[in-house]
Symmetry: none
Subunit: 258 residues, 2 copies
């Protein structure tokens, strides 16, 4: 059985906001290490990987591996019924077809206990080959900045060319009506505080669909920083790390620079 107590429902709410538009159904793989979700997006272009470490929970118990097949739309609805700072407990029995979510208000004299039961489903787990790559370039930047850049450029064109070089990281979008080009210089510092960092073995230039990058950026609420990892002709890895785990996206580059 699974019993996982999360001190803030907000984390789950944000995770689902980030994932639900990309994936409609997915298995939450629960085991003693924690809870993991891995799924291709609905059009099988991007891959999402979420990990919540057991140690991040207020209480966590999972005797044996348990795949919980969840409709993310339903789970989103159920999570809408939780306040951000509610204590949220997930429970499921072995071979259960029900996931139970309990919300307790944090106030000292809690008078309200809400319990929701959600139907689970059997989902054929995609066999997902998560590439385990040594990347040629790694860029860490404020997630808000990445959000802003991909949103801005998505107004102009369909795709963005990302160029990592000694110069820094450059985002280029060529649109019908206008072209955009944003350069973030390496080791840029603001107010004496390092805002980002670039590590690079060799220069990398790749082109991606902006639609997906905009979607990935919904995870900005989960972490102040985002890490972009790239090698030529290999899927981009966009990673948001937070206290109790991470959410990662993989996106294949477009062939040829259009």
């Amino acid at each position: 059985m699974l019993e996982a107590k999360l001190s803030e429902a907000a984390l789950l709410k944000r995770l689902l906001d980030a994932v639900k538009e990309l994936v409609s159904d997915a298995n939450f793989e629960c085991n003693e290490e924690g809870i993991q979700l891995q799924a291709m997006d609905n059009s099988h272009v991007a891959l999402v990987s979420v990990k919540l470490y057991a140690s991040g929970f207020k209480r966590y118990r999972c005797d044996r591996p348990l795949p919980l097949g969840v409709n993310l739309g339903s789970l989103t609805k159920v999570l809408k019924c939780a306040k951000d700072d509610d204590i949220c407990t997930l429970k499921a029995g072995d071979d259960a077809d029900i996931l139970s979510l309990t919300y307790e208000a944090k106030s000292a004299y809690a008078d309200r206990i809400a319990e929701y039961e959600m139907k689970l489903m059997d989902i054929d787990a995609d066999q997902l080959g998560i590439p385990d790559t040594d990347y040629d370039a790694s860029v860490t930047m404020p997630s808000s900045e990445f959000l802003r850049i991909v949103r801005d450029l998505s107004l102009l064109g369909e795709s963005v060319r990302i160029e990592v070089s000694k110069e820094g990281i450059r985002f280029v979008s060529d649109g019908e009506a206008a072209n955009g080009n944003i350069l973030i210089k390496q080791n840029a510092e603001a107010s004496g505080k390092k805002k980002g960092s670039i590590e690079m073995n060799s220069a990398v230039t790749l082109t991606f669909s902006l639609k997906y990058l905009v979607n990935f950026s919904k995870s900005s609420s989960l972490s102040k920083k985002v890490q972009l990892m790239m090698s030529n002709d290999v899927p981009l890895l966009v990673s948001y790390a937070f206290n109790q785990g991470h959410i990662r996206y993989y996106l294949a580059p477009k062939i040829g620079d259009d």
Copy 2:
């Protein structure tokens, strides 16, 4: 003739926000006691009853009973032209087909006086039998909490079963994808302050359409508390009381617990 001076236009604005989606046209019955509106909602399922006591007005005069047939959409538009803290005066002559609304700014050096005239209409008054019941159970709770509960549960299903017992009050909704269940314990206290109270002669269990309860909850801006009164097989009474009157909703229970 009618002349009614209200020290805050906000009250009328909020009342109309609460009612306008339920009822499109209604008679404002004015007499020496005050102003009353009673109407079935457009689909003749729920009943709304608004009362503004004469004593609650800054000045009130109504020589003889006067039914003012109002299109609530039009009145809402006219009220949008008032600031919340404007002094608002309603005037209508006997047999008038015009309602005049005057808004005066409250500032010491009032420099703005706005006057609007709205066409009235003849409305056949529904004969409304307002049930005058001794209820088996009465529950008072923060209106914001009631709002939250019915909104949450409306995400899951069409209807809610309300159970009042020694345990407290429980709201249960069974939906396609998930079930929800919220218990508020009797006489729960928070920070030493009583948040709600339950009085009960016998346990009551009734099922209602959530759509209507969500609609009723728009009155939350009028009062911090809401009172739910129930007896088996009798319409639920949802009552919001404020300084100068009240707004009450009656809703028939669904037959059989589905």
